[in-house]
């Protein structure tokens, strides 16, 4: 099993290329942190890897098969996405939102079976969202909503999980909690790729990719990538890195 990006270039409409000649391969069981300055192309890479954006050049392949050859439903059974700013219809109950994750399995015209209901419950319990299952999502806090969306992606029972800045709107406790969830899922064999704004969250990953102007400029363990010279060049600011198993990065 692999998710492979090969020689991919991409631009929006007639704009400049935001991803250029990018090559990267993701492995199952790995938690990958995607970091880089604003405009580096992190979210675009998530769009390309999830098949909602089509590369101008190159291919994205899942198990050796180009994404565009997958049907939407087939792809959604393999690959779950937690968007940066999830749009949630506020009158829906948390459970109904998670149930949407079953759509690629059930189909759009059939009803949930007992198996589906079991998966929904398990997914919600996983991220501790089951207790507010009947509450309308509009009444939930940012952290609770984020967990609902994560549960929805889990309900897809995917092999791959793409998280686009999942901790952006969360306070400290939930940031840590979400990263623990992500790490646990990777430990269970899922391939998890997370766009991370906070470099210290990236320190918890198995592997870190530093993206700058549409290219990968560093790829390795947190210790290898979270180094002052590399970060300073990409982010354009002085940083101090406290080295170690989990490096701590602060801007000067």
């Amino acid at each position: 099993m692999s998710l492979v990006v090969q020689g991919v270039g991409f631009s929006y409409e007639a704009g400049p290329e935001v991803i250029r000649g990018l090559d990267v391969a993701f492995q199952p069981g790995e938690l990958v942190g995607l970091i880089g300055p604003n405009g580096a192309g992190k979210s675009t890479l998530v769009g390309l890897a999830s098949g909602v954006l089509r590369p101008r050049h190159g291919t994205v392949e899942l198990d050796g098969r180009p994404l565009r050859r997958f049907g939407r439903r087939e792809l959604a059974r393999r690959l779950g996405v937690v968007p940066q700013v999830p749009e949630l219809p506020s009158g829906f109950s948390a459970r109904s939102v998670v149930a949407m994750g079953r759509a690629p399995h059930v189909g759009f015209f059939a009803s949930e079976g007992p198996q589906d209901r079991a998966v929904i419950e398990a997914s919600m319990r996983r991220v501790d969202a089951w207790r507010f299952r009947d509450q309308p999502v509009g009444s939930l806090s940012g952290g609770e909503r984020q967990r609902v969306v994560l549960a929805r992606a889990l309900a897809q029972q995917p092999d791959w999980l793409l998280l686009d800045e999942p901790t952006a709107h969360l306070d400290l406790r939930y940031q840590a909690e979400l990263m623990r969830h992500a790490a646990r899922l990777a430990g269970e064999g899922l391939g998890v790729v997370a766009v991370l704004h906070d470099l210290n969250q990236a320190a918890r990953c198995d592997r870190v990719l530093l993206l700058d102007r549409g290219r990968i400029v560093a790829d390795g363990t947190p210790e290898e990538v979270l180094r002052a010279p590399l970060l300073e060049r990409s982010f354009g600011t002085r940083v101090r890195v406290q080295p170690g198993d989990r490096p701590v990065v602060t801007a000067e």
Partner: protein, 346 residues
């Protein structure tokens, strides 16, 4: 992923209570509408006339009134209400816009233009005469929406904003064209105006049959697609990532809702407000999930229009109010009350 034992669902769930109550409510309004008319007919006679009508042997003027006038009128109001509310639900889901109604893409202005052409020029242009007012309205309505969709299309996709803009602009142009056609022949203006306001006054079995033929496939299809409608509410990108072929689904829904709207308009004229407020009212009452929204919109839409028509034909009897005025006057305040008291809908 660990398995969790499935719990048995406890007996009568609240959603079935609401559905049953809605169905009973619709039945009650229909019975009231069948019982009341400008000619006093006892309930017994009404039942007898319907029985004889079903057997195809009408006996006397009372039977004709019940079976040929009142029953088709009530059924057509119900079918029109159901069709418009369903189309409104579909449009609101596709456009994710609370102001979307079945006429958003120009179906009403198109139908109005077709009807005006047929009413004014039907006698001179043979093909128009052949189509009849309803046929011309239906044809021009569908053509209008197809043109709007083609104008709004960008590289195989249907961006919502260009769709709405194209619909509004083409709709305004067609309304202007309708006014122009009406000016050309002042005598027939009253006929065109009466048609545009919408009425069930001269409803016949043929009209009921036409609309029923559209509803019979549309309602089950919409019920079946409830999950896809829900998915549209989380945004098109997320919907795609959850496996929905968004563009294809949008095309299908816009086409289906347009055919339904055009059919409703071609038999009943342009009746406003139903397609806009009924889905909202249901949403305020039971929430936005289409599992509830689709069936309840159909039931409530039918009941609302049957009730509105009942008011329209009794309040000023023997004169009639245009039913569109009643839907706005009665529906507006009712909706505002719901809006004040209801829960958050979107």
């Amino acid at each position: 992923m660990q398995r969790t034992a499935v719990r048995a669902v406890p007996a009568p769930s609240p959603r079935w209570t609401v559905r049953t109550a809605s169905a009973v409510g619709l039945a009650a309004v229909v019975v009231a509408a069948l019982a009341v008319g400008s000619v006093a007919i006892t309930p017994g006679e009404v039942v007898g006339a319907i029985a004889r009508g079903l057997q195809g042997r009408l006996d006397g003027a009372m039977d004709v009134i019940v079976w040929q006038v009142r029953v088709p009128r009530v059924l057509l109001a119900a079918a029109t209400g159901a069709a418009l509310a369903l189309a409104g639900t579909a449009y609101q889901a596709v456009f994710r816009n609370p102001l979307a109604d079945p006429y958003l893409l120009g179906a009403a202005s198109g139908a109005g233009f077709g009807a005006a052409l047929a009413l004014v020029h039907g006698a001179t242009w043979a093909w128009l005469g052949l189509l009849g007012v309803g046929g011309a309205a239906f044809l021009v309505a569908v053509t209008t929406v197809v043109v709007v969709v083609l104008l709004a299309r960008r590289r195989g996709r249907l961006p919502i904003v260009s769709l709405i803009l194209a619909g509004v602009v083409l709709g305004s142009s067609l309304s202007a064209a309708t006014s122009f056609v009406m000016l050309a022949d002042r005598e027939r203006t009253a006929g065109v105006l009466a048609w545009l306001l919408g009425s069930f006054a001269f409803a016949g079995w043929r009209d009921v049959a036409i609309l029923a033929a559209c509803l019979v496939p549309a309602v089950p299809a919409a019920l079946a697609a409830r999950r896809a409608f829900d998915l549209l509410l989380v945004g098109e990108t997320s919907a795609r990532q959850l496996g929905l072929p968004v563009e294809r689904f949008k095309w299908t829904v816009v086409l289906g809702a347009t055919l339904l709207t055009a059919a409703a308009v071609s038999v009943a004229g342009v009746i406003g407000f139903v397609g806009l407020i009924v889905p909202h009212a249901v949403r305020l009452a039971v929430g936005p999930e289409h599992r509830e929204l689709v069936p309840l919109s159909v039931l409530w839409g039918a009941a609302f229009l049957v009730g509105a028509d009942l008011v329209a034909r009794t309040v000023l009897s023997p004169a009639e109010l245009p039913v569109g005025i009643v839907t706005a006057l009665v529906g507006g305040p009712f909706f505002l009350v719901l809006l004040r008291r209801g829960r958050e809908a979107w």
